[in-house]
């Protein structure tokens, strides 16, 4: 799967409290959640995000609480994938489970500017910065995780194990 979109860039340690503040955790509709996405750090995000955009983070992206509301809000905003130097463990699982690829590509991050056009190939493990004309190696998912992504996330995976459609 290849994702192409423009970069929206943040720094290190972007935590789930700023991605989706706690006061909205009683919401469950993904459109309601998307309306508050990144509110704690970037109130302009909801205005500038376009379908297919790629969020770029530094190290430890998604640290803090286990709230799946955070990646759900990101996905519902139209973001196609997230690349970062590293991800917090729980966020990484959540993103994959709901079908937003989280790709580790430490080498690409520092040179990316807000608005650059990026192309991420998750099977090959590459990130291309089209604007700069450069290509970088990203971490390839272990086979079992790639399987999870291929079937479309954890819901489909559990269904396949249980033999239900």
């Amino acid at each position: 799967m290849i994702y192409r979109g423009k970069a929206i860039k943040y720094g290190d340690n972007i935590n789930t409290d700023v991605i989706l503040p706690g006061q909205y955790l009683n919401l469950t509709d993904e459109r309601d959640l998307a309306a508050h996405c990144m509110e704690g750090i970037d109130s302009d995000f909801v205005n500038k995000v376009e379908k297919g955009d790629i969020i770029v983070g530094g190290s430890n992206f998604g640290c803090g609480s286990s709230r799946e509301h955070a990646p759900i809000a990101i996905k519902a905003s139209g973001v196609s994938c997230i690349i970062a130097k590293s991800f917090a463990t729980i966020f990484y699982r959540n993103a994959i489970n709901i079908g937003v690829p989280a790709v580790e590509c430490p080498d690409a991050i520092d040179e990316i500017n807000e608005g650059d056009i990026l192309e991420v190939d998750i099977e090959k493990g590459t990130v291309k910065n089209i604007t700069l004309g450069k290509s970088y190696n990203a971490t390839v998912y272990p086979k079992s995780i790639q399987n999870l992504i291929n079937v479309g996330g954890l819901v489909n995976y559990v269904k396949s194990i249980r033999g239900v459609n």
């Binding site: 700023v18 609480s65 286990s66 709230r67 509301h69 959540n94 489970n97």
Partner: protein, 419 residues
């Protein structure tokens, strides 16, 4: 070559025996937790997963602790969803508003025990490592998957060891240890790894302090944080009425990727300044900071040991007129113990407001939200931007003793200055 406690527990819960750090393994889950935040989304995803059967209705806990007693209609409906789900699935461990905070009640009631592999739909599920158990947090869809299968996958963590040496001062709490460690290794210092707390010094920390330490392992990014089973664990399990636990300890020759020694003799009470749990500094360096609110409670420091320490500091003194002081016992059981021991009277007389057991303002839910530019000293575990209210408000993380001393003076204060 020997094995570390975490590797032993993982090995006993997996069919894959020959694993190394970085490998992905499937594990059997002994106990699963969810709440009124991760629960509703988990229920939604669980319903999509097919036959609607739980892996085991006796090994899932649902705790309504975040927005309870419900603060508004939306939260009330969320609670109702979880209540109805628990009833329809015959979930035996269902705890409604006021019973207590998940990470306080699960060990307290013996639902989780030494040697277990516990997964929770909450990042602070790392807490139960204090019992010599493996425990870690996941999100809602993972909760749903475990509800269905009773298994999940984990990436095998690298091993880190933190060795406590010497005897600490009387006011040192588990909070000071963990804030100190995070100030040294950073919020991603243990990313995806296992933190083991060991050394002769662990004998000075009771289970309440150990829960505090493991609770905040996640603030360094750890997959889990764990103590070896010892006499202190044994007594705790006995008091919780648990007998069928399993004892795990690291081998002497286990290998670690990282070892840090902590000299307890030199450790001062620590405060984590805004806006990262890694901004820890000795309390004396922050002594001129004025405070508007003090919160004592949460899954980090809302246990009876925490309340006893704080009561010792405030006894016979009055809360500063510039401070709103809140005491939120971590569970109904803790509340009752505090009541019987006369602690509730001490707090109330000194000017604290005692709230019903709940997460309260810890994550910005309710009961003590901060306004513009306000500052709070809190015994909770996170001080991210806007965590407890307005984006311009500030949270300083501290032990119950420091929080109590601060409530009295209205400035960040070491307990030695007040008690």
């Amino acid at each position: 070559m020997g094995k570390a406690i975490t590797e032993k527990i993982l090995s006993d819960h997996s069919e894959q025996k020959d694993f190394k750090p970085g490998d992905i393994i499937d594990v059997k889950v002994d106990f699963l937790l969810t709440n009124d935040i991760s629960g509703p989304v988990a229920v939604q995803e669980f319903e999509k997963m097919g036959d609607g059967e739980l892996f085991d209705n006796n090994r899932v806990a649902i705790v309504l602790d975040h927005f309870t007693p419900n603060k508004d209609v939306v939260s009330a409906n969320v609670s109702k969803t979880m209540r109805d789900f628990a009833k329809s699935k015959g979930i035996t461990h269902f705890y409604d508003a006021g019973y207590g905070i998940e990470h306080v009640i699960l060990p307290q009631d013996g639902m989780v025990k030494s040697g277990d592999l516990v997964i929770g739909g909450d990042s602070h599920t790392t807490t139960y490592g204090a019992l010599g158990a493996f425990s870690t947090g996941v999100g809602s869809t993972d909760v749903a998957g475990i509800m269905a299968l009773g298994t999940t996958w984990l990436r095998v963590p690298e091993q880190m060891k933190f060795v406590l040496k010497g005897k600490p001062d009387k006011w040192i709490n588990g909070k000071d240890i963990i804030v100190y460690i995070i100030s040294k290794i950073g919020t991603d210092g243990a990313l995806g790894k296992s933190m083991e707390i060991t050394g002769d010094g662990v004998k000075y920390f009771d289970m309440d302090s150990r829960f505090t330490i493991c609770n905040m392992g996640i603030e360094a990014g750890a997959l889990n944080c764990i103590f070896n089973f010892d006499e202190i664990t044994e007594i705790y399990e006995k008091n919780a009425g648990v007998s069928n636990y399993k004892i795990y300890k690291s081998d002497e020759d286990a290998e670690y990727d990282y070892v840090m020694e902590i000299n307890l003799e030199e450790l001062q009470p620590m405060v984590a300044a805004p806006h990262m749990p890694s901004n820890g500094r000795p309390v004396t360096e922050l002594s001129d900071v004025n405070i508007d609110q003090v919160v004592i409670g949460s899954c980090t420091n809302g246990r009876i040991g925490d309340l006893r320490t704080a009561a010792q500091v405030v006894k016979g003194k009055k809360v500063s007129p510039n401070v709103r002081a809140l005491l939120i016992p971590g569970s109904r059981e803790v509340y009752l113990m505090a009541l019987r021991e006369g602690l509730i009277e001490i707090f109330t007389e000194s000017g604290f407001t005692v709230c019903s057991p709940s997460c309260g303002p810890c994550f910005g839910g309710h009961l003590g939200i901060l306004g513009r530019g306000e500052r709070c000293v809190s015994t909770t575990n996170r001080n991210f931007v806007g965590r407890m209210g307005d984006k311009s408000s500030e949270v300083y993380l501290a032990s119950p003793a420091v929080a109590a001393a601060t409530a009295i003076t209205g400035k960040i204060t070491s307990p030695t200055e007040v008690a």
